[in-house]
């Protein structure tokens, strides 16, 4: 009895092969198509770089959006807007600069030349923060209430490298902007 009832290896269920081979090929094609599509929609997602934000200012209006750019070192001022603690600074990207008033404390790693990503909206007034004029100074400022720091993929220790290697994201050109002070 036991000899007869020993568990057997499962029968190979060889159903139609062809559809699955086709499926695998289709999957590869599909991944390629998806890759193509995401490439096409590049440039539309998540945040506006500073130059695009300035260019599309009239389209954006007072709607909220996310802005990205590199803070310019000599422009950073911590002060008050009314009673509220703010950080005012100018940031640049792609040759354009934007004056920013960030409401709240700056991010821990907030520093010059390290790109930040900010949530907020355009305000059609010059920034009113004591001691801050702004490098753009175009009658507008970006009022932000959420700040993230976009650090790069360089893991470098300054002590061992004489100069900072600026291989990070193409387009960050804070060095072009010259502070007047």
């Amino acid at each position: 009895m036991t000899g007869e009832l020993t568990p057997r290896a499962p029968r190979p269920l060889r159903s139609r092969k062809a559809p699955w081979v086709a499926l695998v090929i289709a999957l590869a094609v599909v991944v390629a198509v998806a890759a193509l599509i995401v490439n096409l929609v590049e440039g539309s997602l998540y945040f506006y770089n500073a130059d695009e934000a300035v260019e599309e200012r009239s389209d954006i209006g007072d709607r909220r959006f996310t802005l990205q750019g590199s803070p310019i070192g000599c422009s950073i001022v911590e002060g008050f807007s009314g009673d509220e603690p703010v950080v005012a600074f100018s940031l640049s990207f792609g040759g354009a600069s934007v004056d920013v008033v960030h409401h709240g404390d700056p991010a821990e790693l907030f520093q010059a030349d390290v790109p930040v990503v900010l949530d907020g909206a355009w305000v059609a007034q010059p920034p009113v923060v004591e001691g801050f004029t702004g490098i753009a100074n175009d009658g507008w400022h970006f009022s932000s209430d959420r700040m993230r720091v976009k650090h790069d993929n360089d893991y470098i220790n300054d002590d061992e490298y004489d100069e900072r290697l600026t291989l990070s994201d193409a387009g960050a050109d804070s060095t072009e902007v010259v502070c007047e002070a």
Partner: protein
């Protein structure tokens, strides 16, 4: 270990396990005391030594699941089906750890635990949820062959996410908060790079160790299912025999 304890280990897994333990010790020493701090992130950079190996673990696990799923669909190979299931289970752990260590790293460096706008973060989370769904489907039970086919389709659907996750920081370069690939286009200190490789090797060894154990568990479960069926058959036949003999004697 007592001599009569039966388990899923073998000489290979014991060697692997020992290597993982030694590797973890080395990684802790290198990670906390060997590698230098980063000039932007300071010591927070040391999170990369657990974060990136976990992320690589997802890729390895999902690739294995994808191959296993295809091989089941193509060859109806139970072996590959168990491989796909095993690696998906390990993959969900790697995926959870990647998300967790990434968030904990993000708070001091990005100033946020999570960002809904970042493609890599969101696609990784979607993969995690799909893997949870995969395991839920696997645990739903039912006919073994039908279940393997269903799971294989879901496994492939989930695996499609992986190339998107991996490439997202390039496709949306300048559009993601997440930094670009650290290994391929990053600029790392020698010792940081070395520590990172140690981390990847340790995680890879752990992956292999876990795969062997998990595969054997899957195999045993499969055997047990067969045996349960046989036992039920024997019992049923025995019942039938007593019933019929009872009727005859009446």
């Amino acid at each position: 270990m007592s001599a009569d304890a039966v388990n899923t280990g073998s000489r290979t897994t014991r060697l692997l396990g020992a290597a993982v333990l030694i590797g973890v010790l080395a990684l802790i020493l290198l990670g906390f005391f060997g590698a230098p701090e980063d000039d932007e992130q300071r010591d927070a950079v040391r999170m990369i030594f657990v974060h990136l190996p976990s992320a690589f673990g997802i890729y390895a696990a999902m690739a294995t699941t994808a191959v296993g799923s295809v091989m089941w669909l193509w060859k109806r190979s139970r072996w590959w089906d168990i491989v796909a299931h095993s690696s998906a289970e390990i993959g969900v752990i790697f995926c959870g750890l990647t998300l967790f260590t990434g968030s904990v790293w993000g708070r001091p460096t990005w100033n946020t635990y999570w960002d809904w706008g970042d493609v890599r973060l969101v696609t990784t989370l979607i993969l995690f949820l799909m893997l949870v769904g995969y395991l839920a489907l696997r645990s739903a039970g039912g006919d073994e062959n039908a279940m393997a086919t269903r799971a294989a389709v879901v496994g492939l659907l989930a695996a499609v996410n992986v190339p998107i996750i991996n490439r997202s920081v390039e496709w949306w370069s300048n559009r993601t908060l997440h930094q670009k690939s650290s290994l391929t286009d990053g600029n790392l200190e020698d010792l940081t790079l070395f520590t990172l490789f140690v981390g990847i090797v340790v995680w890879a060894l752990f992956f292999v160790w876990a795969m062997i154990h998990r595969f054997r568990i899957g195999w045993l479960e499969h055997q047990l299912r067969d045996i349960d069926l046989e036992t039920a058959l024997i019992q049923r036949r025995a019942e039938a025999a007593t019933e019929s003999s009872g009727e005859e004697s009446r």
